[in-house]
Symmetry: C2
DNA sequence: ATTATGACATGACAAAAGTCATCTTTTTGG
DNA sequence: CCAAAAAGATGACTTTTGTCATGTCATAAT
């Protein structure tokens, strides 16, 4: 479980195109490159804990990381699953607060770390970059507003259907019509995404399966009938 | 129900101290002042609708406004209640998206409107202001993360207790130990804040009342036992 | 190969919360 | 000032969901 360092030049990073860093000049990318540390993490390793102070920004280069909160009784709610190209921990960093959530590796990950000072330097010297970051944050907020309204008034069945569709969109396998959800999620993790008990997810998933809406392929789920699932999620009327 | 214009110089605004505009130079404030329109709204009037495009920023000068989403079945979830000094509609503006929520006046309000271009001009010419805005947005995101985790795993009873405490903190009357929640909220609105049915809120509130945790004063609620309520909200263990 | 461990699955049951109907009280508009 | 409408309250009932117990299966460690 030892952390292993690696190094990839930011200018050559295959995920640059999916990242907010896309659009920075080669000079800016090189400055970040000089001040970053890249580490490989194994499944189950922790990146940061709720309640601690951020010292810099994480940038995903490979794998998947869940960002989650635990309540007093130990129940987990997964706020977000970070994939390559995503920033991690930027909210607490820019808000100058403690982390409000924890982050743990779901699938073996490669993550670069840029110290706070260097990130802020690039941010403040490049207004266009700042604007892109602000835009992305506001977009994220819109998604959170949507999720709160869903949690407030949708049934677990509707939320599970909506979560499966969201996962298909965000983490769908390239090709194959993108119907395979390309994350090896446990039922427990899926329950933490939906905000329900593990047993409930298991029951509903097998209902969806027997209704022909999804199929299971190894540890992964394939969405067979996105439109019918959208109807279950109450996203389509009719 | 006609909208009535009024005008107050930004430099003299009594809510400037509570606003993100606090810290701007008199010149910047005057520029905003020159390009703003201030309107008085009556209770029940709409400020903007979900799905429309923002054309500028609203800045609260008086009253209360609810920001909410309606789901397909017409159930409402209140994301935020804006009070004097607050910005309104900045998320969609900065995210360059449609409004993800609607805004309606809860208590007669005075609201100033600054067009997008002028707001962006001040924002881009003043990096310190930009930084404050980003910090505030990120703080808001942290609150939303907390709320999502609450909605996912807390009971309605716990959420109602937590909402009452939050309302007391954010909208508590000055003086009086700030125990009176100074918004005339209907049971229906309170249900939309908690994310539950109106009947459930009514029942739980009268339970809280008979347990001596709260009392009703006219249309308003007084929190009598914040610590016991915090225990109900599962914020304190013991 | 065998055991231990964790993930998945299912049943039984209880608790929480939503829905619908009805009634009372308060507020508002004419 | 009165009628109509809206808000608040309460009971009866149903549905949804969580919890606990138990069992199976796959995987990993020894």
């Amino acid at each position: 479980m030892a952390k292993v360092e690696f190094n990839i030049a930011c200018t050559l990073c295959e995920h640059l195109k999916d990242s907010l860093f896309n659009g920075l000049s080669p000079e800016e990318l090189n400055r970040i490159n000089l001040h970053k540390t890249c580490i490989s993490y194994k499944k189950g390793q922790n990146i940061f804990y709720e309640g601690t102070r951020p010292t810099g920004l994480y940038c995903m280069n490979g794998g998947k990381v869940k960002v989650y909160k635990n309540n007093v009784q130990g129940k987990e709610y997964i706020i977000y699953i970070a994939k390559p190209g995503d920033f991690l921990g930027y909210r607490a960093l820019l808000g100058e607060e403690y982390y409000a959530a924890s982050a743990t590796v779901l699938e073996d990950a490669k993550i670069c770390f840029i110290t706070k000072d260097h990130f802020f330097e690039v941010l403040q010297k490049n207004p266009a970059f700042m604007k892109r970051v602000v835009k992305a944050i506001c977009h994220e907020m819109g998604i959170m507003e949507e999720k709160m309204a869903e949690l407030a008034h949708k049934s677990v069945r509707e939320r599970l259907a909506a979560s499966l569709l969201m996962l298909k969109e965000s983490y769908g396998m390239e090709g194959e019509g993108s119907t395979l959800i390309d994350i090896a999620l446990s039922r427990e993790d899926l329950a933490s995404i939906v905000g329900t008990a593990t047993e409930t997810v298991i029951r509903l998933l097998s209902e969806f399966k027997s209704e022909g809406l999804v199929s299971f392929e190894g540890k992964k789920i394939r969405v067979l009938e996105p439109r019918k699932l959208a109807k279950q999620a109450d996203l389509i009327i009719g």
